[in-house]
């Protein structure tokens, strides 16, 4: 039968095809009868979806997996390594086979079909298969499986060595679970913080009980559950609680919880991580807000109740991974919640009693269970009687010997242990139950150490490390009454720990199912040497692989995991881990409890990158800061780029037809010959007040501050404890006990943190307060020989032509262009400069007025890169470039800033130590490049031209430019013993060429400083 719907077919053809699909579906979908009291689908809302190019129908409330099963589709993918056909195995987050790729607008890899809620238009495809799921070339790996045992990649592809690149490319091409989307999704992801008294993870019977008590007691409760509706296993089974059905009990509890303003319930939300200080992350799918696809909750809880339930595990027998073999409980879940009758002839294979409960439920729901094959001897007579009474055969002390069918099972051969006699049972569905694993992942993530419990042959939570209580099945309590009572108890303890005391009530009455009574079987004997039993389906790890790892010396569970990849991957060993540990215990003859578990790490289930990023993408990825003038640069074509501290500043402002270099050269020439204007607002600014401000500056900077007068400014350099360069800047004295410090833009926060720490923790004797005021001021720097005339023209009451009143390093208040300002006669270009501080709200107004007034002077707005060129010409040292974390203040030629007589300052001891050791330290020098067209790149190595053979690095370029003012290609560089090497020729060693350069004084322009002092 062809179900395919052509994209180009007419409506009638499509209708006919859809009709055929619906008829097929009827076979697998149980009728809407009274037996299905837990049915979660809305049959009145059909949804159409595509899988592997075929069109199918499901209902609202279906998962992709339940809808596929309802359409008779079991086989959904191929295994990772051997490309074996794989079918849906479970009904929840533990799924290890049904991993699909969403395609189309919702393009996303690694999606679990068992948790993906169906929606109209969903389009998914299988992964790990080419060209199709049915005919996959990758199956070659299965035929050659004996060459691909565990750790094969450590032993193969080793020769020839130079071909590894080729192998690597090939392996990367065939490996992987899906394809990363090419397009950027417009989906909206959110983060949201939440605080609560009690966080309850899991809304099964235990979780609901805990929430009910804690809620009634008045605690702020958050109840999260990974299912779309609460109830947990109560939705899969017909329980009776307080004389009402399990579902009715759930409804009544949920209604009560909904009525409590102190309780918040979140569905379809997986608790993915449990971190320190009871901080948990929960991923909510499709929140109620329209347009939000995923929300990552960041929850801080005073108490956490883990009621995460338990996951059934498979049995390890030959070919246990064939499509049509599922976890027994999931058959029941699909049957009761989604009304899917997956198999017409079901056989169950088990080592415990829970499969009997499952069989009973299936029969009650209308399914046909042929037989139960039990590995145990002496199954409880009462239980046997019960299942036999509904027509189910029981085969005790028997095992599955062989599974028939590759792409779907059709029958199984069973027989007694050690016997060659076999019985064949026809079946189209084999349900397996190897026991139940408490979901201890979050407990383990919280720091707890799981303990092995012989009675359930699995691990249970150990002592709590954080304020966390486990309850219900995740604590190893599998009967309903135990789950309810432990849930209530956990709710009581958690609420009381938060100071909420409610009325203790008796646990609801209920009827329990059969006790587990498990006999641990870690591997069912294999019928022949070539047979393989899978432990980790996700990574194709077999019992043989574990054996091999042990034989090769990897006996620790952590080493086994890494050698075989068992327990890794998308499912993180949810169903496989305990079987792996159990089988390892057999191989090493060590009790499972002594082997222990590997460390569970977040996240519990895959989380999309979108959810991790939240809103932090696009324009919100980086919190770009703006000055008051940024918009002017944008409007006038400024080339903006990140320049530190989240500022995007113009590197240069090209005129029409200009390239970067031409713009920078024009701007640089203009500053040296006319007047330029530069937005220095990002400079860090710190207000310093207090009677000990001078003492503070003396300790912080290398030079002395005692003689700085009010109305003057001074340049200072601060060092780290180790004597390396931290930052430089100009500080002006505003009043007797009041200073305004400026710092480098990029390190403004670093300097603030540094001095805040010093004042609060180290120099508590100093009476000094600091206040960051960076954003309070717009700073515009007018620079160039015509600055005075320009400012005069712009209008100022400051006597700027009075060189005695307003000399270099003066700091005065007055008015410029009609606005109140502070003007410092300092700059970063080496020219006559005026730094104008104005209230930020007036910043743009001042800029506009200055630009207007500067038209007759051809005032040139200058960018950051041009500023760097100008400072290079003047050898103004940048702590982040010439100071490379090794150079000290003497190395960079700033010894004149150090005053060793004034007493101690930060970095003094280390600097003196450098001096006492001596040696050929790198020193900052200038370089003139022989080839003027070449600009030396930052970091370019400098080598000695006379050296033969292997080149030895003598230094490196810290910055290089073509200087239009000198018509030279110049650079600053650190060169070993550089100041003694003036006039020497060196080689700049680049990838493309070797260039000759001459060592020279680093100050290329105005070495005496006449211009800036003019």
């Amino acid at each position: 039968m062809d179900y395919r719907i052509s994209k180009y077919g007419d409506q009638r053809n499509e209708d006919n095809r859809r009709e055929r699909v619906m008829k097929q579906e009827v076979v697998y979908r149980l009728s809407n009868s009274d037996n299905l009291v837990n049915e979660s689908i809305d049959r009145s809302t059909p949804l159409w979806f595509e899988f592997n190019g075929r069109s199918y129908r499901g209902f609202l409330g279906d998962t992709l997996a339940s809808a596929l099963l309802a359409n008779g589709v079991h086989m959904v993918g191929r295994s990772f390594k051997y490309h074996r056909p794989r079918g849906i195995m479970s009904a929840g987050a533990e799924e290890t086979n049904a991993i699909v790729q969403l395609i189309g607008d919702d393009d996303e890899p690694n999606v679990l079909a068992t948790t993906l809620q169906l929606y109209d238009g969903l389009n998914a495809k299988s992964v790990n298969c080419y060209p199709s799921l049915s005919w996959d070339f990758g199956v070659l790996n299965e035929w050659l499986n004996r060459f691909f045992p565990a750790g094969f990649y450590y032993k193969t592809f080793m020769w020839p060595k130079d071909q590894w690149d080729l192998f690597g490319r090939f392996i990367r091409r065939v490996a992987g679970w899906g394809v990363v989307p090419n397009s950027i999704k417009e989906n909206r992801y959110e983060h949201r913080s939440h605080h609560c008294d009690v966080l309850i993870v899991g809304a099964g019977p235990a979780g609901l009980s805990a929430a009910l008590f804690a809620g009634r007691a008045g605690a702020r409760v958050m109840l999260v559950d990974n299912q779309p509706e609460p109830g947990g296993d109560l939705l899969n089974t017909e329980y009776t609680i307080n004389n009402m059905s399990g579902r009715s009990w759930v409804t009544s509890i949920v209604e009560e919880l909904e009525g409590m303003e102190n309780v918040k319930r979140v569905s379809s939300a997986i608790a993915s991580g449990y971190y320190d200080h009871n901080f948990l992350t929960v991923l909510e799918e499709n929140p109620t807000e329209q347009g939000v696809c995923e929300r990552l909750w960041k929850i801080r809880a005073k108490q956490v109740v883990l009621a995460t339930g338990a996951l059934e595990r498979p049995l390890a027998f030959a070919d246990n991974d064939r499509p049509g073999i599922m976890l027994a409980s999931s058959i029941s879940a699909y049957c009761s919640r989604y009304a899917v009758n997956i198999g017409q002839n079901i056989v169950l294979f088990t080592n415990n009693n829970s499969a009997y409960s499952t069989a009973f439920k299936l029969v009650k729901a209308g399914a046909h269970v042929e037989a139960i094959v039990d590995l145990r001897k002496g199954v409880d007579a009462g239980i046997k009687r019960t299942v036999k009474s509904v027509g189910i055969k029981v085969f005790e002390n028997q095992q599955i010997k062989k599974v028939y069918g590759t792409k779907h099972i059709c029958r199984v051969a069973i027989g007694a242990f050690g016997s060659d006699e076999i019985t064949t049972l026809d079946c189209d569905l084999l349900g397996v139950s190897g026991g139940w694993n408490p979901t201890i992942h979050l407990h383990s993530q919280s720091g707890g150490r799981p303990q092995y419990s012989e009675s359930i042959a699995s691990f249970v939570p150990g002592d709590s490390v954080q304020a966390e209580i486990s309850a219900g099945a995740c604590k190893g309590l599998f009967t309903l009454s135990d789950c309810l009572s432990s849930g209530f108890e956990a709710g009581v303890l958690a609420a009381e720990a938060c100071g909420f005391h409610g009325k203790r009530e008796s646990t609801p009455e209920c009827v329990d199912e059969f006790a587990l009574d498990i006999t641990a079987v870690w591997q069912v004997p294999l019928p022949h040497k070539g047979a393989r039993a899978f432990l980790d389906f996700n990574n194709d790890v077999t019992t043989k692989d574990i054996n091999l790892a042990v034989r090769e010396g990897y006996a620790s569970v952590e080493l086994v995991k890494r050698y075989t990849t068992a327990g890794m991957g998308i499912d993180q060993g949810k169903t496989g881990n305990v079987n792996i540990i159990g089988y390892l215990s057999e191989c090493t003859k060590t009790p499972p409890g002594s082997i222990g578990t590997t460390t569970y790490r977040p996240s519990y289930s895959p989380i999309s990158f979108g959810a991790m990023a939240g809103a932090n993408k696009g324009n919100l990825l980086i919190p770009w800061r703006r000055t008051e003038v940024t918009q002017w640069f944008i409007d006038n074509g400024g080339h903006l780029d990140e320049t530190g501290a989240f500022y995007r500043r113009p590197l240069f402002i090209p005129r029409e037809g200009e390239n970067a270099r031409a713009a920078m050269e024009r701007e640089a020439v203009s500053v040296r010959t006319g007047v330029g204007i530069y937005d220095s607002s990002p400079l860090g600014k710190i207000d310093i007040k207090g009677p000990d401000a001078v003492k503070f500056l003396n300790r912080l900077y290398t030079n002395a501050w005692d003689k700085l007068e009010v109305g003057s400014a001074k340049f200072g350099y601060m060092l780290y404890d180790d004597g390396r360069l931290m930052d430089d800047g100009v500080t002006c004295r505003i009043a007797e006990e009041h200073y305004l410090m400026t710092t480098g833009s990029g390190v403004a926060d670093v300097v603030l943190r540094h001095i805040d720490y010093l004042l609060n923790c180290v120099w508590t004797d100093l009476k000094v307060y600091i206040t960051p005021v960076t954003d309070n001021w717009t700073v515009l720097c007018v620079c160039g020989p015509k600055s005075r005339e320009f400012l005069q023209n712009a209008g100022t009451d400051l006597p700027i032509f009075d060189k005695k009143y307003f000399p270099f390093m003066a700091s005065k208040t007055g008015r410029v262009a009609g606005l109140d300002v502070r003007v410092n006669r300092v700059g970063y270009t080496g020219e006559l400069s005026f730094e104008i501080f104005v209230r930020a709200r007036d910043g743009r107004q001042l800029w506009d007025k200055l630009i207007e007034a500067g038209k007759e002077f051809d005032i040139t707005p200058v960018g950051s890169d041009t500023s760097m060129l100008l400072r290079t010409e003047k050898a103004f040292i940048a702590a982040g470039l010439e100071g490379d974390g090794y150079a000290n203040i003497y190395d960079v030629g700033l010894g004149w800033v150090v005053n060793n007589k004034k007493g101690d300052f930060i970095g003094k001891r280390s600097t003196e130590r450098d001096l006492s050791i001596g040696g050929d330290r790198p020193q900052v020098v200038g370089l003139k490049i022989e080839n003027k067209t070449f600009v030396a790149p930052k970091g370019c190595p400098i080598v000695d031209p006379n050296m033969e053979g292997a080149k030895k690095m003598e230094g490196m370029v810290t910055i290089g430019f073509f200087s239009p003012n000198l018509n030279e290609s110049i650079a600053l560089a650190q060169l070993k013993n550089g100041r003694a090497r003036m006039g020497e020729q060196v080689i700049l060693f680049t990838k493309e060429q070797e260039l000759r350069a001459t060592v020279c004084d680093p100050i290329f322009i105005d070495p005496t400083g006449e211009r800036m002092r003019s």
Partner: protein
Amino acid sequence: MIYAATAELLPIKGWLDIRGGEAVRKICDRELCGELPTIVQTASEIKDVGVGFCVAPDHWMLCLSDGEDSRWEEKFQKALSGEFCSITNVSDMYLTFRLEGKQARNVLLQAVSADLHPRVFSKGSFLRTAFAKTTAMVYQTSDEPAYDVTVYRSYKSYVDEWFFQII
């Protein structure tokens, strides 16, 4: 619009940054004819003046209407003459957004990790905290709820964009 909330940039306000010990606070209280809060991360309304915020044991922010900042700065400087203190006019440092609406809390919780539940954060509550990728002072002005989110001036466009995209 996903959330029933609005965010609007308020006209510039006056801000004074006050540092000092107990004696300084008492003098300020006397001048204000009101009380600066004494518990960190709390606020108090000062009649006819504005709102005082305690950001650290020796650190207050005083929010005033624009134009009042210089007058109060001068007044404090005069009253505190001789005291070890710092009064800094930082009115141009900050801009304030008013976030209000039925779902304003849900919007704010996407940027702020603090507990904003009405049991612990209600009208008059204040905190200085990380806000998305910057920092902010958050002051709840009504139980509607409505919040004044005060951020550094240079982050205005980022915060504006943040509100636009989230709401």
